[in-house]
Symmetry: C2
Subunit: 250 residues, 2 copies
């Protein structure tokens, strides 16, 4: 029987995110597309460019989830150490991949331009397959349930989009939302009651703060569309009963 | 003797981040300010609103780091479960905090407005102290080496700014950067050589991709300002020797 729930973890590898220099832009993209494919992103870890940390995190995550995605650290420089440590996590050797090397040959006009650093990008774990990179020379790889991708959003997105159709997922998670101008403390009691009656729906309450006034967006998520529709109606009725004239239901 | 290196972990708690609905905006703010205070953010975990996950993650992180910060899940609704699970992580009871309750009394004109849901915001772990929230009724708390803060960036920042002066850190991490229009594979070999000679400096290479052309920003970080200045000069000389006319050094 097919599984009901498929989960994924994302490992964001890079000192530049942890230093605050670069803002992660990949999480929302991956999260939304996974949801549409019936896979839930249930854990994200941001870790430094450090070999043992990469090995430990990859091994912990691939045991705990159906799919693991990594971003960052696959380029040609000394601080790009994802691929070699994914190989170590799987306990396999690295080898020059012919297909990846040919891609480098095609990318650089002169074979003499393929320095040792550039060649590194064609060296992948034994048993891994390539994830095409239509933008630059660095290669994404797929080994076991782990997908190693670039950190640059444009390249990551191209890689992820090519992987996505190959994933097996469950029913997609659908979401509805009800926005109102009430502070969340006002809807809290009624909302808890609705949540208690709809266990198949997960209801989140998110405060907004604009122009010195509080408002709340109530987000309902689940795979059962009928329950979702009914509970969304109840939430809309709740905020109306509390004085909201015009809830925005999406 | 004072420690050389202080580390911190950030735990971002919230289904809304994992679903892709909300983009985390707190990591860069916390990372940069910690750096200035000589504390390095070395790990970020984004986890769902799930009791046992919160307990396990808080306990793992507080054992591994000097400081742990959490964001999200401290409001009045059913999906706000951070505070109660931090109490469980520490194995302490929850109790009504007089100061927090007085803050609620001051916030709401009519004591009858303090519903059970709102009262929940004044119930904190035994032994915890409050982190002031100048914006809303939800209370931040400090217990052991863990700081529990709001998820809304404006409120989180106010809480974090009030905590920051109380942290003990090491020397601040200073960074310099050299930007050039060379692809990173061109600087890789020379850069690795510089990195090998400056072990006290951490050098990162970050590709840029603009208007169909690759460029690279090389970021040098460390606590030894003399080594940082010398290595930055070497990186600038490297990119000039490779044909960059006008590296931007910051």
């Amino acid at each position: 029987m097919a599984k009901e729930i498929y989960t994924a973890a994302l490992i964001i590898i890079g000192d530049e995110i942890l230093s605050g220099r670069t803002k992660d832009a990949n999480t929302p993209y991956i999260a939304e597309k996974l949801n549409e494919s019936g896979v839930r992103l249930t854990e994200v870890r941001i870790i430094p460019d450090k070999g043992q940390t990469i090995i430990d995190t990859v091994n912990e995550m691939r045991a705990a989830h159906d799919y693991v995605f990594t971003t960052g650290g696959i380029g040609p420089t000394h601080d790009d150490m994802t691929t070699e440590n994914v190989a170590k996590a799987f306990g396999v050797e690295l080898e020059l991949n012919e297909e990846a090397f040919n891609a480098l040959l095609a990318y650089y006009d002169d074979p003499a331009d393929i320095t040792e650093s550039r060649k590194k990008m064609a060296i992948i774990p034994k048993g891994a397959t390539l994830i095409e990179n239509p933008v630059s020379g660095a290669t994404g790889i797929h080994i076991g349930n782990v997908y190693v991708m670039a950190g640059v959003p444009r390249i990551m997105q191209a890689m992820f989009d090519s992987v996505l159709p190959t994933l097996v997922g469950g029913k997609p998670v659908v979401s509805r939302s009800v926005s109102c101008n009430l502070p969340e403390s006002e809807v809290a009691d009624g909302l808890a009651d609705i949540q208690n009656r709809y266990t198949m729906v997960s209801i989140g309450s998110y405060p907004k703060y604009q122009n010195g006034k509080f408002g709340t967006t109530l987000v309902l998520r689940g795979i059962d569309e009928a329950a979702l529709a009914k509970s969304t109606q109840e939430v809309a009725d709740l905020v109306k009963s509390l004085g909201e004239d015009n809830p925005i239901i999406v």
